[in-house]
Structures are given as structure tokens and as C-alpha cells.
């Protein structure tokens, strides 16, 4: 059938050509500079680290054996996952009420609150971490306050407490925004209905609001958990590089240690991805279960 001089087949092949043109540059970029580099890391992880940091292309499983055999690496994994979990839970407990309050406000006030939550989200991560160095430093305002109250000066930073504060501070906006989106879609008349049917507020919250906003909780948790487990900046700056997180070891193996050990670092990265994938699948399964 001819439409304006173009046959149906002509339209189809024209559409196919247009589709190919639309896809080509983006697809090229994502394959060449994202997918292939990941395959390269996988390949490195089975190669032999040479004495000068050069890679010898012989197959070995030794990198993985070292990873599981040495306490340094195992404890870095455990510490990173544990602190990631802790940060996620704290962000959730702090973020949920904030998101709830935000969506329940009249439009103007709500817009202001959303804006206030967005600003840290768009602000440089290094700057936000640095701000805590200033506050927690030996002569900083917290110590000045402590001393003014008559107590001895405390070493607040570098330390593990400072790292946790910095992580929560850095990630909180990433938890709040998906929660706001989820609570925004939540129909609050359901809570009234539950109350009319005799449910206590506590029960209505646990049985109705929480399960129905579970997708937001899941999205926020993943957004907080992944970067926290892989970070190295906060533990470097606020922890004084005293305790090793996964990210610190990765950074050192790739850029600083003399000689660098890319195969071992790659094996660490591959294991990290595997652990994360398993953790996230388990998490989504669990939240899906809850919703049923």
C-alpha cells in the first residue's frame, strides 16, 4: 500500500535504517568503554602479576586463592559489607520520617523541603566529606564546645565514628529521594480505612504503609549500600587511612602499591561484584516476599 508515495516495505526499511542510526553511537560507546573494560578486568583477574607490575598473560587461579587465604582481604570484605549495612540502616531510619513529613506538607512548603533535600544531593561529595574534617578537627567547633563545657578535648577524627558520620551524611539524600517518590504514590486514605477497621496506627504502619512503600525502600537501600561498600574517599579522609575498606585496597593495588598488582585487584573487583549481585538479589527477594 502506498502512503504518500512510500510503500509499506519502504517505510519499514527506512525505519530500520533510522533505528540503526539512532542506536549506533550509544551502543558503540557503551560496548567499547563499559562492557569491554569489564571483560578486561575479568581477564586480568586470571593473569599473573609480573615482578615490575607488568601483566603476564598466563592463566592462574592464584589471585583468587590469595583473596580467600589472607586475613587482610577477607576482613576488608567483611568490614566494608558491615559498614555498608550499618550506613544503609541508619540512612533508612533517618530518611523515612523525613520523606514522610515532606510528602504530607502543603505544596509550597513541600517544594521548599524537597529543594533543601536536593541541594546536598547535587553538592560535591569531596566538599561534603571535607566539611566534617573541619567540624571534627582537634580545634574545631565540636571540640571547642566540649572544652567550653569543661571536658577534655576528644580525638573525634580520624576515627571509625567519623567515617560512619561521613558516610551517612554523604548518602542520606540518595535514600530520601526514592522514599519521597514512593510515599508520594502512597494513598494515605488507606491509613484512615485501617483505623476505621480498628487497626492501631502502629499496626497500620507496619502492615500497610511499609509494605506499600517497599519499592522505595529497596531502591534507596541499593543506592546507599553499593557506593558505601565500594567507597575509599571517606575512609581515607575521615578515617586517616588507618582501617582498610575494600575501596582502599582496590585503589592501592591499582594506583599506589609498588609495584601495582592489577591481577589481584581485578580478582578483588570481580568478587566484589559477585558478592554485591548476590546481596542485592537476596534483598529484592526479601522485600518482594514482604509485599505479598
Amino acid at each position: 500500500m502506498a502512503i504518500g508515495g512510500i510503500t509499506a516495505a519502504g517505510v519499514r526499511s527506512g525505519a530500520r535504517r533510522r533505528l540503526a542510526a539512532l542506536l549506533a553511537p550509544g551502543l558503540f560507546w557503551l560496548i567499547a568503554f563499559f562492557a569491554i573494560p569489564l571483560v578486561v578486568v575479568l581477564a586480568y583477574s586470571f593473569a599473573v602479576p609480573g615482578p615490575t607490575g607488568r601483566i603476564e598473560w598466563r592463566f592462574t587461579l592464584e589471585n583468587y586463592q590469595r583473596l580467600f587465604g589472607e586475613t587482610l582481604y577477607v576482613s576488608a570484605y567483611v568490614r566494608s559489607l558491615w559498614v555498608g549495612l550499618l550506613t544503609t540502616v541508619i540512612c533508612l531510619v533517618m530518611g523515612y520520617p523525613l520523606a514522610l513529613f515532606t510528602v504530607r506538607q502543603p505544596p509550597a512548603w513541600r517544594a521548599v523541603l524537597l529543594f533543601l533535600i536536593l541541594i546536598p544531593f547535587w553538592t560535591n561529595f569531596l566538599v561534603r566529606t571535607y566539611a566534617w574534617m573541619v567540624i571534627l578537627s582537634n580545634n574545631g567547633i565540636i571540640n571547642a564546645t566540649i572544652q567550653a563545657l569543661g571536658f577534655p578535648r576528644q580525638i573525634l577524627y580520624p576515627g571509625e565514628g567519623a567515617v560512619l558520620i561521613g558516610l551517612v551524611y554523604g548518602q542520606l539524600p540518595f535514600m530520601v529521594l526514592p522514599l519521597v517518590a514512593a510515599l508520594d504514590r502512597f494513598d494515605f486514605t488507606l491509613m484512615e480505612a485501617a483505623a476505621d477497621l480498628g487497626a492501631s496506627r502502629r499496626r497500620a504502619f507496619w502492615r500497610i504503609m511499609l509494605p506499600l512503600t517497599a519499592p522505595g525502600i529497596a531502591a534507596g537501600s541499593v543506592l546507599v549500600f553499593i557506593p558505601t561498600v565500594g567507597q575509599f574517599v571517606v575512609s581515607d579522609l575521615l578515617g586517616g587511612a588507618k582501617v582498610d575498606f575494600l575501596g582502599n585496597l582496590l585503589q592501592r593495588l591499582f594506583t599506589r602499591s609498588n609495584p601495582p598488582n592489577w591481577p589481584l585487584g581485578s580478582a578483588m573487583a570481580v568478587m566484589f561484584m559477585l558478592v554485591l549481585t548476590v546481596a542485592i538479589i537476596a534483598y529484592f527477594r526479601a522485600t518482594a516476599e514482604e509485599r505479598r
Partner: protein
Amino acid sequence: MARRAPEAGGLLLRLHTGATLLFLYAPIVVLVVFSFTSDSFGVRWTGFTLRWYQRLFSDERLIGATLNTLLVATVATLIATVIGTMLAFAMERYRFRGRTGLEALLYVPIVIPEIVMALALLGFFALAFGLIDAWFGVRPVMGLATVIIAHVAFTVSFVVVVVRTSLKNFDVRLEEAAADLGADAWQTFRRITLPLIMPGIIGGALLGFTLSLDDFIITFFTTGPGTSLLPVEVYGQVKRAITPKINALSTLMLVASITLVFLSQFIQWRGRRSS
């Protein structure tokens, strides 16, 4: 807290919100205030000065790093916005084989730990440059070009997400109407579709620009020894010591971020009003 949820906000919820906002903003305010302090350690208030800003503007290394960072963010954003918008069109307007696979390929860069992507790019560039050296006898070096390539790779997915949202909200009947009135495909795209999804494209570009501007990890891994970029400079200086000069620099970076948020909110608001 939760028990008071059905109301517009109980006392506990109010207190919690106040405390959390204080937690979010106190460090930012402290940083801004201490960029004007005369204390040379930059952690106490000992009087007002603009000295640190003067020093900042005469630090040629930092100015050079800032210009480099702006250059990277601008070029990366332009490339990512064009190819991201094209991908968004392909995903929203066509059904094709491998679409689900592409969906995953677009999703993974958003969720992957940044450090894994960063070291993968470093490993890839080293390997590729080694091969180029072996075949052609020239060895490229890491620098602005590698950083730009990497920034496009990690921001393009975000652009696609934002542009796809505005394509989803787009009323396809407008295009059909244009075609009925005799416009060809290009005219319809140029005069109808593009103007209507422009807020989405600009929103995606602004998000990509901010991500690129702020990125430290991928930049750190893909830059070369001769190239200085702002986040890498800041990291190097911050690791050494707290200085009021860094407070001043942080304040300026804050002002830049806040301006960008205003801009993106304004564009979104105007986009909503016109559609």
C-alpha cells in the same frame, strides 16, 4: 514517629525533620563561615577576611584545573546528551531484538560501584594503548581525552533515563497531527517533538554536567600525570591538611551546585507548565 504518620506531621516528626535538616546543613554553613575566618587553620572564628578568596584567585594551578574540569564536563555532556537522546528515542519508539539486553546495558552503569568502573577503564586504556603501541608504534597517554571518554560512558545512562521520562509523557497524537498536515518526519521532529521534549533533554544534560563536574573516582583513575583536574587537586590538598583556602574553594563549588539545582528545577517547572 510512625504512629503519628497519618497527620500532616506530629510533634516528633517535626522535631526529627528539623534535626535532620540541621544535620544536613550545619556542615555546609560551617564551611561557608570558615571560608571568611582569619584563622590560618580554618577551623575557628577569629575575625573576618577575604584573604583566602584572593589567594584562591591567584592560584594558577587551581584555576587551570578548574578550566580543565569545565572543559571535560562540557564536552562530555555534549556527547552524552546527543547519543543519550538518540538512545532514548530508539528505546521508546521502536521494538527491536536485543532491546532487553540494551536495557540492562544501560542500567548497569548506574548501579555499578564507581570504583569498579574506574579501574576497569584504567585497565582497558592501559591494554588498548599497549596494543596501539605494538601495532602502530605510537603510545597514547592518559589525559583529558581519556577522562572525557570515561565521563561520557558513565553519564550517558543518566541522560537516557531523564529523556525517556519526557518521551513517555509525550502525546504522540501531536506527531500524527503534524504528519496529517503534511509535515515530513524530519519537520515533525524538528518543529514538534524536539521543542516539546527539550526540558527533558536539558534536564538530562544538567544532571550529566553535574555528575561529570563532581566526579572524583573515575576522574582520578582515568587522568594522566600531566593533567590537573579540580576534584583530583582538591583531594590531594584535603588529604594533606585543612586550610581556609580549601574552605573558600568549597564555598564556591557549593554556590555552583546550588545554581545548577535552581536551574534544573526551574527548567522542570517550566516544562511541566507548558505541557
